[in-house]
Symmetry: C2
Subunit: 197 residues, 2 copies
DNA sequence: ATGGATGTATGATCTCGGTCATATGGCTAT
DNA sequence: ATAGCCATATGACCGAGATCATACATCCAT
């Protein structure tokens, strides 16, 4: 089972990169969608605005995440992509991607595998979020993220990001982690959490 | 833009159907995944159990919905599929599906489109769930689901299912809907919610 | 070095929403 | 027709967790 990212898969379709200042838009709703992107650095989020002007955040992409993969099959973008931090993205030409898929059954299978892995992990995240108790949610999340051998979780990003993943206030997460450590259920180091079953 | 279901896409890979009594399992976690399914009739849900034995409902599939599409590239199923009602499902042979994808770039593109749509809707659900306030969560959910022309949401399934999607107690959702209606922000009919902005 | 921004951390307070209880209407099976 | 089940609906209560406030450390840019 190969675990290629979108970028690795379609390296040949890459047409360069782009730097975005904080607050800059990568693209906006309605623009012709000619490229797909992956975030190399920083943080870009997809936003749609309701008729009342309220923003709806559809997705927040961090380093390694794809952007607008779904617009491969649409002529225009249907959200805005805004850099929340200074960011860099890699650009991939849609036409070339389609050509690659048409020419290589292997690549197209790998691409489908890529998406279905993503579906799995998104469902897993949804599963975590359907747990009511914040404490249980944290425990379940840690279990999911932990490498099975050593029951160790490497935290990518900040605890605040993790709190967002877990759909809870970051203060709550700090408290819960502190409690779990006090109880001896976990131990912590910078960027690492170890679970003691 | 075609919105083929998995079933329509891979009709040739179909190997028949299966009837399930209420409570019967279509497959269970860990079993070799040889087939994918779509629900023809009834209702099948995907469940995982936590270490404490609590069930977590990952997904509820009704007529027309696919089941376990994401396990196309995994050797075993990752959760249990249980019929909540007497149900019938169509079965599709994984090997044949892979063969079809290899042989037809068109089908493989359609398949990729299918998965990327799914990724997008899962992401949308995740973002909805990251909204703290239950009331705002409901509003955003309705906005996302609403057809842009007429701002009308067709409810598939029950309000309880919707409450599960929204990760809140169904009582809370009943109350919030009643309030929104009282305030004139929405109006309701059986199976339909209309948003007045 | 200094000020600003951000992440980490913890205490105090208060409210939102989860839980429990109860009621009613619709549907199915006997 | 009757009993049982489920979705819908609403009231009452209370506790988990959101919010607000404060403090300290780190990292940048000036």
């Amino acid at each position: 089972m190969n675990h290629l990212s979108f970028g690795e898969l379609f390296e040949e379709a890459r047409t360069g990169g782009k730097s975005l200042a904080q607050g800059e838009f990568l693209f906006q709703k309605g623009a012709a969608s000619t490229h797909l992107y992956t975030v190399l650095e920083g943080c870009v989020r997809m936003v749609r605005f309701t008729s009342t002007g309220d923003p709806i955040i559809m997705h927040t992409a961090r380093s390694g995440d794809g952007l607008a993969e779904a617009s491969l099959f649409f002529d225009t973008y249907h959200c805005d992509a805004e850099a929340v931090l200074p960011s860099t993205v890699a650009c991939y030409d849609k036409k070339r991607i389609v050509a690659i898929i048409g020419a290589s059954p292997q690549k197209s299978l790998a691409c489908i595998a890529f998406f279905s892995r993503q579906v799995r992990s998104l469902r897993a995240l949804l599963e975590v979020r359907s747990i009511r108790s914040a404490r249980d949610r944290v425990l379940h999340y840690l279990m999911l993220q932990a490498a099975p051998e050593n029951m160790t979780v490497r935290i990518s990003g900040s605890i605040k990001d993790m709190a967002h993943d877990l759909a809870m206030a970051h203060e709550t997460l700090y408290r819960i982690l502190a409690n779990l450590e006090k109880e001896g259920k976990i131990s912590r180091d910078i960027g690492i959490i170890k679970i003691h079953h």
